[in-house]
């Protein structure tokens, strides 16, 4: 009863504060739109590379044919890079500049004219199993169409497609932002939002009356956590929904798994914010502490640069940060198509940190006004 009364009160207060509403409900939309605007339109062309080792007339015709091919609801291919060697093509897939590279072998034009068997290669980024499969199928279809046309004019030839699969980097530019957006919206925003919650009660002196009732610090902490969770949960659904269904950001793994891991970081961020709130004396201090707490997360959790590239000393810090586990799990699910079960360690770490934050906050919250 006491807990529900507190939750109800905090939700009401949150919803009556226009600043909160803007921060919670408008922020996902604004941030997403900004990222989409900045990082190119989603649902656009699939960037591929072509290594034309032949250079003859027929090879150029094949390339223009490829450009025309539609990638089944994914837009068309866009040759963003022309490679001159197999290695160069291989590299651009590995670096994530393109999803795939098509290799037209030396002597291609000649082999077609002579009606010989020719070997066309494709290098696929297995990080995007889903996309790779489609790209491969489109290539096969395009080649078959191309074969027909060529046969009508110059007589028959046969072809073989060999595929090379490699793992590219975690993300490519267009889809990279989802993890970052989610980090801001599910870590920084809820953390700073709730960080001022208790200091605000102190500053407005409402704390003095509140602690005259027979409530415990458990009631206060859990009441705030649940109230803010209910309100900010909208963020999780809204942002992920917008990203995937409106902006068509690729999600290879299961959407539900993404939701679960996002929910875990949300709770963890709120708990961390509550701890900050308990430790700070006033609202300004709370904001500063929240931002200060976000700096290591920004630097060392894989937010800007993959955490794997950090020095071993700094990696120890990474492993303390909830955002590190979140980003790792989130990207694994989104990009590599792993399941939540594959990321169970990260999920458990998030839960563990949440519990530690909450228990510490409950322990440290003194029901006093000094």
């Amino acid at each position: 009863m006491i807990l529900t009364a507190l939750i109800y009160k905090d939700i009401k207060q949150l919803l009556r504060d226009p600043k909160t509403l803007v921060m919670v409900l408008l922020m996902p939309v604004i941030v997403l739109v900004m990222f989409v605007a900045g990082y190119g339109g989603p649902g656009g062309n699939i960037p591929i590379a072509v290594a034309n080792l032949d250079g003859g007339t027929i090879s150029w015709r094949l390339i223009s044919e490829l450009k025309r091919a539609s990638a089944m609801g994914l837009g068309s291919f866009e040759v963003v890079k022309t490679a001159y060697t197999f290695e160069e093509a291989y590299d651009s897939v590995r670096k994530g500049e393109v999803y795939a590279a098509i290799i037209i072998p030396k002597g291609f034009t000649e082999e077609v004219f002579l009606g010989k068997e020719t070997q066309v290669g494709i290098i696929l980024d297995a990080s995007y199993a889903d996309i790779s499969e489609r790209v491969y199928r489109v290539l096969v279809l395009t080649m078959q169409g191309f074969q027909q046309k060529v046969t009508e004019k110059y007589g028959g030839f046969t072809f073989n497609i060999y595929r090379v699969t490699i793992y590219g980097p975690e993300v490519s530019k267009i889809d990279a932002f989802l993890g970052v957006v989610m980090s801001v919206l599910l870590h920084l925003v809820p953390m700073s939002l709730i960080a001022v919650s208790i200091s605000r009660e102190r500053e407005r002196r409402t704390f003095e009356q509140l602690i005259m009732t027979p409530i415990s610090s458990y009631d206060i902490i859990m009441g705030k956590l649940l109230a803010y969770m209910i309100v900010t949960m909208a963020d999780t659904f809204l942002t992920l929904g917008l990203a995937v269904y409106v902006f068509k950001v690729r999600v290879v793994g299961s959407f539900l798994d993404l939701m679960v891991i996002s929910f875990l970081i949300l709770i963890c961020s709120l708990s961390m914010g509550l701890l900050i709130s308990v430790l700070s004396k006033n609202q300004l201090q709370a904001y500063q502490m929240a931002i200060f707490a976000f700096i290591p997360s920004m630097l060392f959790s894989g937010f800007i640069m993959p955490a794997e590239l950090l020095s071993p000393k700094v990696k120890i810090i990474s492993k303390l940060l909830p955002l590190y586990y979140f980003l790792k799990a989130f990207r694994n699910i989104q990009i590599r198509g792993w399941t939540l079960y594959d990321n169970i360690f990260d999920a458990l770490m998030l839960i563990g940190e949440t519990i530690v934050f909450l228990l510490t906050a409950i322990k440290l919250l003194k029901l006093r006004v000094e």
């Binding site: 009863m1 006491i2 529900t4 009364a5 507190l6 009160k9 009401k12 207060q13 009556r16 504060d17 407005r204 002196r205 409402t206 704390f207 003095e208 009356q209 509140l210 602690i211 005259m212 009732t213 027979p214 409530i215 029901l367 006093r368 006004v369 000094e370």
Partner: protein, 314 residues
């Protein structure tokens, strides 16, 4: 430990940094009385109240409320105590009714009981018509009424109100005091601080606090006697010169005497005006002095207060 006291403080001390806000304060507030804490700004009244309620930790000393030690069993104490802080401390972004409902629920009422209790209080404190207004939009007097309602929501046996009538208009001030008296008649112990001396006269007993120390304690009458060393009477006589009063029983001191056109006006300090006035007049008349008028000089609590503080400040 005594059960006749609602509040007992023993050597209560609070030090902020190196400043002693409350200094070895011993108070014994009896069950069922209206007890006033008086003292100039910064005397330490609010700090004392906060320590009584366990809102701040005493540097030294013990507080017992109805015999229960606050530091050890604060929750037990809270259920019996209502508190109206000096400054408005309710949620300004919740309405009057929402604030009351919240507190009713936090004190453990179920929804139905809470609604009933809130309705009762809204009526008693004339808040019915403002119940849907945000607390932040209330006028000063309305805020005080709401704060009082919240302090009383769980029907506490002890109510502590810190300057409840600050910024309140005279009719409402009067109503507040009538309300306190009614509560008190129903057995509620009330501790009140105020800067209005006319209000302080309504208290059963007072403690005067100055620089964190108790400098006087007692009924308003006792405090006044303490300040001046007794009661003051004024006698107007027809005589060419002041008669000799020294040595008459009960006379402590001649404070002043003025000659004016064959009459003399004398102010005399006596131990008890009600019994001594008649005996002194009779004594003078039996000595052949013509007494025109004799009366007790009314001393306000304010004068006593200023005198006592003035003495301490030196």
């Amino acid at each position: 430990m005594s059960l006749e006291y609602a509040v007992e403080t023993v050597n209560l001390t609070k030090v902020f940094g190196n400043f002693k806000a409350v200094d070895n304060l011993n108070l014994k507030i009896r069950k069922g009385e209206i007890f006033g804490l008086l003292g100039p700004n910064g005397a330490g009244k609010t700090t004392t109240i906060r320590m009584i309620l366990g809102l701040i930790k005493p540097t030294k000393g013990v507080v017992r409320v109805f015999g229960i030690q606050v530091e050890k069993e604060r929750r037990k104490v809270l259920k019996m105590t209502g508190y109206m802080p000096q400054r408005f401390s309710l949620y300004e972004d919740l309405t009057v009714e929402e604030n009351l409902m919240l507190y009713a629920l936090l004190y453990g009422y179920n929804r139905r009981e809470a609604r009933e209790r809130v309705k009762e209080l809204l009526e008693e404190l004339f808040l019915e018509e403002f119940k849907d207004r945000l607390a932040g939009n209330l006028s000063g007097g309305m805020k005080q009424r709401l704060a009082l309602a919240v302090a009383l929501v769980h029907k506490p046996k002890l109510v502590i109100v810190d300057e409840p009538t600050a910024g309140v208009d005279p009719p409402l001030r009067r109503y507040f005091w009538k309300y306190f008296k009614d509560l008190n008649k129903r057995g509620v112990t009330i501790i009140v601080t105020t800067h209005y001396m006319d209000e302080a006269e309504n208290c059963d007993r007072l403690a005067l606090i100055f620089r964190g120390r108790k400098i006087a304690e007692g009924t308003p009458l006792e405090i006044k006697r303490l300040a001046f060393g007794g009661d003051i009477i004024e006698i107007l006589l027809e005589a060419p010169s002041p008669p000799k009063l020294e040595g008459i029983e009960g006379v402590k001191k001649i404070l002043e005497s003025e000659r004016y056109n064959g009459t003399v006006s004398i102010k005399v300090l006596v131990d008890d005006a009600s019994s001594r006035l008649i005996s002194i007049v009779k004594r003078l008349e039996s000595n052949g002095v013509k007494v025109v008028r004799g009366s007790q000089v009314y001393v306000g609590l304010e004068d006593a207060f200023i005198k006592l503080i003035g003495e301490q400040a030196q």
